[in-house]
Symmetry: D2
Subunit: 329 residues, 4 copies
């Protein structure tokens, strides 16, 4: 049995669209329906919830009540600062009025987070960047990013914020694109209530080793949340956990132990063509089983083999542990 | 002045959505509005038109009238076989009823193409493929693809069909993902009225040299259409022409001359954050200027340098021609 | 116990250099030493052997004797047509004298293959392609490729040849870069004694699903050999089997069963920093264990799930089989 | 005429090998021959020189004399800490004796740099990293990296050191893989005489915008050197300048002006199949011409368009400037 508790981005339960299936990969769902689906995933206790809510009539209070009724908790609130209004950027939009609107969305999210008792408010500045070479003044983009993060964090010193980096999509190049650059931006902002959400898939896309990025962020004291999923490295496919990368996932689970992670592990999946309850249940089942693999592994031998940088020895230990982990439920 | 005439996918003028800006990157537009915008692009004479149309009330006849009024022509009709109903595949959907629905869409598109006097009906099977390793029976996927292409082409022997290949998106892996594989599928189908739409950006994504792919498809007698745009190689960014790749674009324009291309060059752009009329006008202006570069280049020297595989010499000639091409309007 | 027999490229046992460690990643070794190392790998019975040999004094006859003494067999002979002389191409070199030298190397390799009773002579035209956009006349490159393949195959109608495709390295772009393009080249050559060596890692690099490529090549009757290894998708890292991709490897092993593969599976590894005997033994151990996973999997359920294109169901079956496969030796 | 002076890595003039053309892409050359070739490149004034030299008999003094005779200057000395001895790492090698040997190489390079009056000693830890997922203890790797940088810099407080980051090759994953991570490592080392060599091609490989990375490094006061070349984004092809990316190169040249760059621009090319003098001369010619493009561009308009993040406007200005730049020599 895994030591981890689990959460998920609520978007997994909503209607997903893209530029081809603009009519949606599944039915439109109300907030209430999305919460009910989430509650039906075995082992899922936490949610990262977008705001504004799907319906104007939904309130933070009503969501809090429903979460409570369903036995769910809010882990985070993520303001929509990447929708149509922010297509050309939120924190770095060339129009000061749009930048102000983005800040307003964050402020509203903070209020929602207070009502929901969420652990953090997430910045996901996916439209902040550029599309074509030469398009922007990079120095200005950095200043706008850092200044806005500083301003919002300073305004709410009792609130934990966290930036989720990603190298691209929806913007062709996103300013906060990898772990180290985001750490530099946080340092430049000079505030101490902003950290990082490390998404396994975004880390793969950024050319990082996710476990290495986890250690780097942790070493700087900035790890606020960790999200799991998988992809083919080139794009944010948001697939079920370990559907592509076994060893990277095992290494990441071990890294979470090494840093003493006690918060939930969140799932960031977009089940375009799968039932969302099945897709998330599958990931939790897989994480539990892989966590049993870690339990059974000779971790002292792993440590020694890694210190010797002996790749074959490390792999041998993991294969042996995989083979001995017992039934995949 | 370029020797080429120009067309565009009508989608450039419509509302684009993605999974983040689900409320759209611009306003919703009617078919009539899209056609009017297209007509306002200097030099744009042809359209690749999606069917079903945006509104149920629009008919092929009404579109034909408006096209004529605006001085536009239909170059192609592209049936929507990648919308919600076809999220798990069109020609290869596991459900025979959905496969049949996809064929019905093609048949309807054929009728529209007859009314519009379009040059070809495009197959863009972007949902046909898979997402996770191991998901499908590859032999069956190939059979379904080839058999459906054969059936539809055999049903309409007087109609020209053309497959636009692409390696991924929306499906994580698309079955008809590069030029050579698509040529093999066409050969396997055994019909002679199916060819290829070569999209420059899809070719870059597939790891091809677009000019080389053009020659390969032409050599097999299967080039039906050529589309231009640009991207950063890893994703189908659908950016303006030559906004990233100068030499590849010059080489492609030269290749079009070498094969004696007399059909329109189509623009496949998604101007998420730009005015569509400006974005397409910009591409046409750039192609015309690059075509002037080709006009001015010492093509005999290019030929000799390429025969000698002398990369520095080829580049020198192109740079010299770029420098002498005259004003970029 | 795996149903497969195993072979390896002899280069795994030699001194590897690259442009940084130009003094080599390990000691220089004689042909005799390389063969002895190969013989010490548990389960390794076959070799793909480069010609010319390391030493001028080594003869096909002496190699045949040593192979026999060691209980090894030659599976293939691979002529060195990618060394210094062929840096600007072998079959497509702009200099006819170099093209002729490449053919002479192939002819010599044919004679060696006869003496060694090898199953095929491999074409690995890794220098045939280009480096910079615009460098070559693609139509000419294709003609030179096809014509040379035809000429060499026609000269030796009793010999099986096989082309190993790869998208890049050492050439920035290699002409025969993926499975489908290579099938087209073979078809164009019009000879029936040329097939394909499908290297798992090259297939990943080419953006293919290796199992799908295997089925495609097999369907065209052109599969001559299959090589296993692994990489990070972007480069030919030539790592041990399944050190990165579990499901792709399982799917590939299943595909080999599906097509009734009875020939050896070859390992194409470059153990830059590992002991070659350990690195290859590790791969064979892993393949055997993964083959036991396939043995234990509910293959009827896999078939049904794939026919339904149900990714979660497929993954569930594989995870369950992995968990039940028994001890990893 | 460009405002820049030019340098090059001396390796461009030596014999390049790789794992296929292990016998070298050109003739072996002595240090003296390499220097003579360098001197014959029009406009080349500086060299980044590897140490140990090719021959044991060559001394720093003799190199200094020859440089002076040829009118060349040493810009940097780069110790060979990535050759055979360091195949499993230099600063992070698991064997303390090898780590010590790497430090000795740096110390020797410092002495050479003093004799040659070079501007900096370069750390290029290309073997420091790992090959397979899970292989190393990432926290330990970071400590070893930071501690060694600190130790070497503290030992030589009057010497400028500079780290050249690169995401991969020769190691499959290199620890200091992008600009931001390297800035973090430098900050962690707590010394002030270590900066960064920003290589345009390495930056492309790392998924960065090179101009953005330049500004980021400059903002942190750590830019020691800038190297130009080009590649296809996925690998360090070390091609001539702007042979693939026009706008990124223009943007980079403009960024150098914006930060007031007064040091030489270095060329890091590996002309595998070209004459090195021709290949480097070609790059200098191209930079000079592109610098004339920048001279002629309406830079106030560029600034305004970038502030408005108007990609089409920026591209229009650049195309116009390209068209007006005058003759490419």
């Amino acid at each position: 049995m895994s030591q981890f508790s689990f959460g998920a981005g609520i978007w997994a339960f909503g209607q997903i669209v893209d530029r081809y299936a603009a009519d949606g990969y599944g039915p439109a769902r109300s907030t209430a329906e999305m919460l009910e689906l989430a509650a039906s995933v075995d082992g899922l206790d936490y949610l990262d919830i977008n705001h504004p809510f799907v319906e104007d009539s939904t309130t933070a209070k009503s969501v809090a009540v429903q979460l409570n009724d369903l036995g769910l908790k809010a882990r985070a609130v993520t303001p929509h600062i990447y929708t149509r209004q922010f297509a050309r950027g939120a924190f770095t939009n060339p129009d000061p009025a749009v930048r102000e609107a983005a800040k307003e969305r964050v402020r509203a999210a903070v209020e929602v987070a207070r009502v929901l008792d969420a652990g953090y408010v997430k910045f996901w500045p996916g439209q902040d960047g550029f599309d074509m070479p030469g398009q922007v003044d990079h120095a200005q983009m950095w200043d706008l990013t850092v200044d806005t993060v500083r301003e919002l964090a300073a305004e709410h010193p009792d609130v934990q914020f966290a930036i989720e980096y990603k190298p691209k999509e929806p913007r062709v190049q996103i300013t906060l694109g990898n772990a180290a650059k985001t750490l530099l931006a946080i340092a430049a902002s000079g505030v101490d209530n902003v950290g990082i959400v490390l998404d396994f898939g975004h880390s793969l896309m950024a050319g990082e080793s996710p476990a290495e990025a986890l250690h780097l962020v942790h070493r700087h004291g900035k790890l606020v949340s960790a999200e799991l999923n998988d992809n083919w490295r080139a794009w944010d496919d948001d697939l079920p956990v370990a559907s592509v990368h076994l060893f990277e996932t095992l290494e990441f689970l071990l890294a979470l132990r090494e840093i003493g992670w006690e918060q939930p592990v969140l799932l960031d999946q977009f089940p375009f063509r799968e039932d969302p309850v099945a897709a998330l249940s599958h990931s939790i089942r897989t994480i539990r089983w892989l966590d049993a693999v870690v339990d059974g592994a000779d971790l002292a031998a792993v440590r020694d083999a890694r210190r010797a940088q002996d790749a074959l020895a490390v792999q041998h230990i993991w294969w042996a542990a995989v083979a001995e982990a017992g039934s995949y439920a």
